[in-house]
């Protein structure tokens, strides 16, 4: 992460900011390990039962190995499912695991805000400039992009340039990291009444 926080006071916060902007994957690990525990407990139990020549709980190890060695159509389907699950887990392990949050530079604190809050700030700026009811203005914020959509009142003009300026000023005042580019879309079709 190369969020260039201007203030030197923020430097010790780098670890805190990085950790709060990324998922820990602990939930994924716990789910995967619980599944692993169930499977391994079963495999271990079956192995011990087989050593002493006792009846298997579900499938004896020899039969299980035979199934793995000579998969029928069910076995092929199961193998495909396992491969798919493996690929999904590889994606979970390798993806950056970013949370939808931005950092704000601050002298005293490490500050992160949810992208929804950032979108709200953009809506606020657009509403103040356009004097439209807040329900007509929506915003979506992704990592590097913030898009405001304005639905004007039918028959009245909306000054898109002024709204864009107001939104850009509001974003610049917050200076979210990573930086976002603000765009304003004015809907083609207006709405009657307020």
């Amino acid at each position: 992460m190369s969020t260039d926080l201007a203030s030197s006071a923020a430097a010790p916060y780098r670890r805190v900011l990085r950790r709060s902007q990324h998922r820990s994957r602990s939930t994924a690990v716990v789910i995967a390990l619980v599944a692993l525990i169930v499977v391994l407990a079963w495999v271990g139990t079956e192995s011990v039962l087989a050593v002493f020549g006792l009846a298997p709980l579900l499938v004896a190890p020899a039969a299980l190995l035979h199934f793995i060695d000579n998969p029928d159509s069910i076995g092929t389907a199961a193998a495909s499912a396992l491969a798919l699950l493996g690929v999904v887990l590889v994606a979970v392990a390798l993806s950056p695991g970013r949370r939808a949050r931005h950092a704000l530079p601050d002298d005293r604190m490490a500050v992160v805000i949810d992208d929804g809050v950032l979108a709200g700030a953009m809506v606020r700026a657009a509403v103040r400039e356009s004097r439209l009811p807040a329900s007509r203005v929506t915003a979506v914020v992704s990592r590097r992009q913030g898009t405001v959509t304005v639905v004007p009142t039918s028959g009245s003009l909306v000054n898109a340039a002024a709204i864009t300026r107001a939104v850009e000023t509001a974003v610049a005042a917050l200076d979210p990291q990573p930086q976002i580019r603000a765009t304003v879309n004015v809907s083609e079709r207006g709405v009657v009444g307020s």
């Binding site: 916060y13 670890r15 805190v16 950790r19 709060s20 990324h22 820990s24 994957r25 602990s26 690990v29 716990v30 995967a32 390990l33 619980v34 692993l36 525990i37 391994l40 407990a41 495999v43 192995s47 011990v48 087989a50 050593v51 020899a62 190995l65 793995i68 000579n70 998969p71 076995g75 092929t76 199961a78 193998a79 495909s80 396992l82 491969a83 493996g86 690929v87 887990l89 392990a93 390798l94 949050r101 704000l104 601050d106 005293r108 604190m109 490490a110 500050v111 992160v112 805000i113 949810d114 929804g116 809050v117 950032l118 709200g120 700030a121 809506v123 606020r124 807040a134 005042a173 917050l174």
Partner: protein, 179 residues
Amino acid sequence: MTNSNRALNRLIIALIALALIVIAAWMLNRVTGLVAIDALGEPDKTALWIAAGASLALVVASISWIATRGRGHTRTLLAANDDEGTGTIEARVAADLISDDLSRVPDIVDVSAHAFLVRGQATLELTVTTRRAADVRLVVDSVGRAVAALDRTLDSRIPVLLHVASGVRANLAREQRVR
């Protein structure tokens, strides 16, 4: 925020993925016969004991890994020693002081706080839930003033992480009319 080792979390998921892919590849290879490998055949007693032992070891390791997640929280924010003993300030005190200061900021719905250890240093995490379309600058500056007041009260600068959140409560809360 906890002190979970995130690189190890990734590694564990990757290893489980690898095991699944190896089993799947083995079975699919047996079906298609792309690579000639001998079948696993019948397990003998040694193999069964090894399987049982390895399973037990992995189960124990997995349970201990799961049980040690979520560590790193602390109740004590600050401890001061002198000749007569140790004085500690709990995170709840700081949370109450901050919440009090912020109760009059209109855009803030809720303030919660807890402390956790980052590299041995107690850090205060403040989660501030705001109304929809809140004035974020005002919220952050208000919290900044409350933290400055806390600094003066405690006479020390505790690291603070401020998380401005848009929770479910924020979406349900009535939006403030803009004058």
